[in-house]
């Protein structure tokens, strides 16, 4: 049990599951935007983002730059934290205990243990239960989702294929996770252990999902959202909200684009409104066809 000594005498619980998962619940129906400086963070906040992800480079630039992608320079994270009042998230490499601890010590509101960065550990993810700060992790299927929850992730996002502006992988992963959840929910209890074995998923987590009929944490969509219609599509497929990485600040008119994506996410079933906000947005980011990406450059295959 973690103890907060604020006030000196009273002992309260900080960093509990409820507090960490609850933070993500407050983000539901919203858009979380990647930003690389204070100016972009302000544009995102102004447009109605529920949080920003502070990075050194957006995924499409990481893809272009190649080499090893690491945690952002703390200066950038700090600059963004000082610029906005909405929550600030930051990415640490998979399994990089120290990057995560550094971000936690800086007081970021959420850490993304992210496949967008080059993994630091090819076998183990972080033991996220050990931290006061909550974590979001990527998943492509229920097995990955349940393993991350088992390790203490307080929020999930389907991986998609980051930095491509191509929604196809995000759709695949959201459908996959939700189909497997539905399958699990209709199973009888005696079938769950074998399902856990097949998925490589923790049994207790699966039992809980079956019991409640849904994942115990919020699941956003990520990796390839490039237009307001893409964002609305992911909401219709059952996402609790949307991460937009390269899509906004690689478009012609980021402020307008950001607002349009927020509106389409809120009113994902109002097609007239989506038509209206999609008009005259200028060019979206240039997309990449998935089959042209070399297997070793596929970010979604990182994480285990």
């Amino acid at each position: 049990m973690l103890v907060n000594t604020r006030g000196g005498i009273r002992v309260v619980n900080v960093g509990t599951d409820r507090v960490k998962r609850g933070m993500a619940e407050m983000q539901k129906g919203g858009v979380i935007m990647d930003v690389v400086n204070a100016e972009q963070a302000k544009i995102a906040e102004e447009a109605g983002a529920v949080a920003v992800m502070a990075l050194e480079r957006v995924p499409s630039d990481i893809r272009k730059a190649g080499g090893v992608a690491r945690m952002a320079d703390p200066t950038i994270v700090e600059e963004v934290m000082n610029a906005v009042s909405i929550p600030v998230m930051a990415k640490a490499r998979i399994g990089h205990i120290v990057e995560a601890r550094v971000l936690e010590s800086m007081g970021v509101d959420y850490i993304d243990e992210s496949e967008v960065l080059t993994p630091a550990d090819e076998v183990f993810h972080l033991n996220k239960k050990d931290y006061t700060v909550p974590f979001v992790c990527g998943c492509r299927n229920l097995g990955e989702a349940a393993r991350r929850i088992g390790e203490g992730a307080s929020m999930l996002r389907t991986k998609g294929e980051p930095g491509t502006g191509n929604i196809v992988e995000a759709v695949r992963h959201m459908r996959q996770v939700n189909a497997e959840v539905r399958q699990l929910v209709t199973m009888s209890v005696d079938e769950v252990m074998t399902y856990a074995k097949d998925l490589g998923a923790p049994y207790e987590v699966l039992l809980q999902i079956r019991e409640e009929g849904r994942l115990p944490v919020v699941n956003f969509a990520a990796g390839g959202v490039a237009t307001p219609a893409d964002a609305a599509l992911m909401m219709q497929l059952g996402a609790d909200g949307v991460f937009v990485g390269s899509g906004i600040f690689k478009s012609d008119n980021p402020a307008k684009f950001a607002k349009a994506i927020v509106e389409a996410t809120t009113h994902f079933e109002d097609y007239e409104l989506i038509a209206k906000v999609s008009k005259g947005l200028g060019e979206a980011m240039k997309g990449i066809e998935i089959s042209t990406i070399q297997p070793h450059e596929r970010m979604q295959d990182r994480g285990w």
Binding site: N4, R6, G7, R10, V12, N13, V14, G15, T16, R18, V19, K20, G22, M23, E25, M26, Q27, K28, G29, G30, E45, E46, A47, G48, A49, V50, A51, S85, I86, P87, E104, G107, V108, D109, Y110, T132, V133, P134, V262, E263, T266, H267
Partner: protein, 198 residues
């Protein structure tokens, strides 16, 4: 049966719907202004207050929401919802609905790492209520007509003024529905009073 709406622009909407239903009222997610006519009381949920305000502005919700409150229809604001209700916000010149005579400080307990749970006594509502505070605000000052319902470390974290109820914490994140029940009862009384006065 009374109908309680939950403003559904962003935030913890589903949880409030569950609490309302568990308290024996009918719940509606309010996304359009016209829906305000169908409900007897309204919950402004937790979420990001900055984001909610942007969306409220975009859809012209501000005046209709204010009107709803000025017609003495009950409103319950949790966390971001409390900020929306306040007449005054520390270090900020703009306010939102301005319906409750309170001054509120945003993120007053700190960032996410300082978010916490604590057992509270809520005057006339519940003892030993597990309150979940997430990047929570608190009430710095209350006007004469405001009743303080709960404090934590001398900070005011729940209050009531006429038809309005607010908490700095998130009752919807636990399965303890005593506050939701209290609000539903308030809505029932208000509906009766409004009918009697017609």
């Amino acid at each position: 049966m009374v109908t309680v709406g939950v403003l559904g622009l962003q935030g913890a909407v589903r949880e409030h719907v569950r609490s309302i239903e568990a308290s024996g009222a009918h719940a509606v997610v309010v996304k359009k202004i016209a829906q305000l006519d169908e409900i007897d009381g309204l919950i402004l949920p937790g979420g990001e207050s900055t984001t909610m305000r942007r969306l409220i502005d975009q859809y012209g919700f501000l005046e209709p929401l204010r009107q709803f409150g000025q017609n003495n229809k009950p409103i319950f604001g949790t966390c971001a919802g409390l900020i929306l209700l306040a007449k005054e916000i520390t270090n900020q010149s703009t306010v939102h609905l301005g319906l409750m005579d309170i001054t509120v400080t945003r993120n007053a307990f700190g960032r996410q790492k300082d978010s916490f749970e604590a057992a509270l006594t809520i005057d006339g509502v519940a003892e030993n209520f597990n309150a979940v505070f997430i990047r929570a605000p608190y009430i710095e000052r209350v006007g004469e007509s405001v009743k303080i319902l709960a404090t934590y470390d001398d900070a005011i974290v729940a209050a009531e003024e006429g038809p309005f109820l607010c908490t700095a914490f998130h009752p919807e994140l636990t399965k303890d529905h005593r506050l939701a029940h209290y609000f539903v009862e308030k809505v029932k009384e208000s509906k009766k009073d409004l009918q009697d006065s017609q």
